[in-house]
């Protein structure tokens, strides 16, 4: 470039002003030869040019090395005026230990033979984006983990419910009849011990009695062991349930629930197994009319069992405040409504009953008529039933006249 006489002062001020600009500004002709370049452009690009073996007199040649896609875009831009590219990010790798340079290019065609190449360093933007990306990934990973954890808790919950159900059945076996049979048989033989010697031989009668005593005691010990183990299993199950409940707090909101087909008959049976003792203790008869072939509905088995158990417990406890000696009977009924395509379960007790003005409010959160308990039971039940697209309600002729709880859920066709 031929050196010219120093420009007059206003132009000098302008040049100094442009040289302070934190954007690179380069003017080229159509071949990419640089005619004007500001200080920032040289400051940033000269080291790049050197490291890529390019002189800093042709912008297109440099771009071909550091940003071939931009070079291509320039070639393809045929119009004589307009924006060739805007905010195109380029990462320029430099020899270590110099970190990569991130530039953002905006190229404008000013005329047939004139281009303006402007660029800015965006290292800090790139860094901020990377930090945000990592944070998002971390959050997504955590959410993913929580979702997996939630799924596991749910599966274990289901398995534990089934386990608890079987354990409850085991404990419900009660005392073994066989032990009592042996005892009675022994008593029978003991009464006829003289005759035994005649039949079996001298001294054999006593031997038989001793043998039977040993069998009876053995059976009793075995029964006791089984009952103790059964009780411990129940406690373990209970403990696991507690652990699951605690862990569920951390994964709240992630539950998708597992939908399985639930047979209403099995639902009632499983629920009764868990609370059946409550009715026995209170001398409440249970009448069931829940046919096996009622249509199944899709749902969360664990949660639905919770609902039924809750209603059954409420029904049992409803008899506690009664003072008369009416015949206590709980009616469980299930039927299919083919028109509405719903299955209806009802639990009818003949206990205290509920006043009409209370009926509407018993499903509210926090409402309880019990001296103990938190009143969360029925509200929870309603929410669960509603997630099954069903509804739950109660009817009662009035205080002292019993209550019926109804659940209706659409069945799977």
């Amino acid at each position: 470039m031929a050196s010219e006489a120093p420009p007059s002062l206003p132009a000098q001020s302008l040049v100094e002003f442009i040289n302070q600009c934190p954007f690179g500004l380069i003017q080229t002709n159509a071949s990419g030869e640089i005619s004007l370049v500001n200080a920032y452009a040289t400051q940033l690009l000269f080291p790049v040019a050197i490291s890529y073996g390019q002189p800093l007199d042709n912008c297109w040649q440099l771009l071909a090395k550091i940003a071939p896609h931009i070079r291509q875009t320039i070639t393809e831009y045929e119009v004589n005026y307009g924006s060739v590219c805007e905010n195109e990010r380029v990462e320029i790798v430099l020899p270590p230990p110099t970190p990569s340079l991130h530039l953002s290019f905006s190229i404008t065609r000013l005329g047939e033979d004139s281009y303006q190449v402007a660029f800015k360093e965006v290292n800090n933007v790139v860094e901020a984006e990377e930090t945000a990306r990592l944070a998002t990934m971390e959050a997504a990973t955590q959410a993913g983990k929580a979702e997996i954890a939630s799924g596991i808790l749910h599966d274990i919950g289901n398995a534990v419910t089934a386990f608890g159900s079987h354990t409850a059945k085991l404990n419900a076996l009660g005392n073994w009849e066989e032990t009592q049979h042996i005892h009675r048989l022994r008593g029978l033989f003991a009464a006829k011990s003289d005759g035994l010697d005649d039949v079996l031989g001298a001294g054999k009668g006593d031997a038989l009695l001793h043998f039977m005593t040993a069998v009876e005691e053995g059976l009793q010990k075995r029964q006791q062991t089984v009952q103790e183990i059964g009780q411990q299993l129940l406690e373990v199950t209970s403990h696991i349930q507690e652990v699951l409940n605690i862990q569920r707090h951390y994964t709240r909101g992630m539950e998708k629930g597992q939908r399985a087909l639930i047979r209403p008959h099995d639902l009632i049976e499983d629920s009764l197994v868990m609370v059946g003792r409550m009715f026995e203790k209170r001398g409440i008869q249970i009448e069931k009319d829940v046919p096996y072939h009622l249509p199944s509905f899709s749902g969360d088995q664990t949660k639905m069992i919770q609902v039924c158990v809750n209603l059954l417990k409420n029904a049992a406890e409803a008899y506690d405040d009664l003072e008369d000696d009416r015949e206590r009977c709980l009616h469980l009924q299930g039927k299919a409504d083919d028109t509405a395509q719903e299955v209806e379960l009802s639990i009818r007790d003949n206990a205290a009953g509920i006043a009409p003005e209370q009926l509407a409010r018993i499903f509210e959160r926090g409402k309880t008529s019990k001296s103990q308990g938190s009143g969360l039971g029925l509200h929870n039940c309603q929410q669960i039933v509603e997630t099954h697209m069903g509804r739950i309600w109660a009817e009662s002729p009035g205080p002292g006249k019993g209550t019926t709880f109804f659940i209706r859920i659409p069945f799977e066709t």
């Binding site: 050196s3 420009p7 000098q12 100094e16 452009a41 400051q43 080291p47 050197i50």
Partner: protein, 124 residues
């Protein structure tokens, strides 16, 4: 009469330190005397003619950010930061005088614990 100061290695740091303003102005290449903080202590005539910046305007300004931002990178400016060894390096560069790219060679001179550093500029 050839100027006494040379761009190349025959002229030493000490000679530049001892040169008078007149001798600096007689050189046929640019000489900028800098403080340790990068402030222009002296801006010779040749450089002033080349850049269009008046000598009096240059003195007192920050060289790497105000006078010649095109040198504000690891290739030039960074080498002047607290030199722990004697700096005497010559390298090719492009100056943007009046927005026109001009090929030059630079010679960077600095010594640890010395108050001044030098940048010499020779047009190719």
């Amino acid at each position: 009469m050839t100027p006494s100061l040379q761009f190349s290695g025959t002229t030493t740091y000490e000679q530049l330190e001892q040169a008078s303003a007149q001798e600096l102005d007689q050189a046929d290449f640019g000489i900028i005397r800098l403080s340790q903080g990068g402030e222009v202590m002296y801006y010779n005539q040749y450089e002033s003619d080349l850049s269009g910046v008046a000598q009096s305007d240059a003195v007192g300004k920050q060289f790497f950010t105000q006078i010649a931002p095109c040198t504000n990178n690891f290739m030039v400016a960074a080498k002047y930061e607290q030199p722990t060894a004697i700096l005497d390096e010559t390298l090719p560069y492009v100056f943007t005088y009046n927005m026109a790219p001009t090929k030059v060679h630079l010679r960077l001179l600095a010594q640890p614990a010395e108050a001044h550093a030098y940048l010499l500029v020779q047009k190719d």
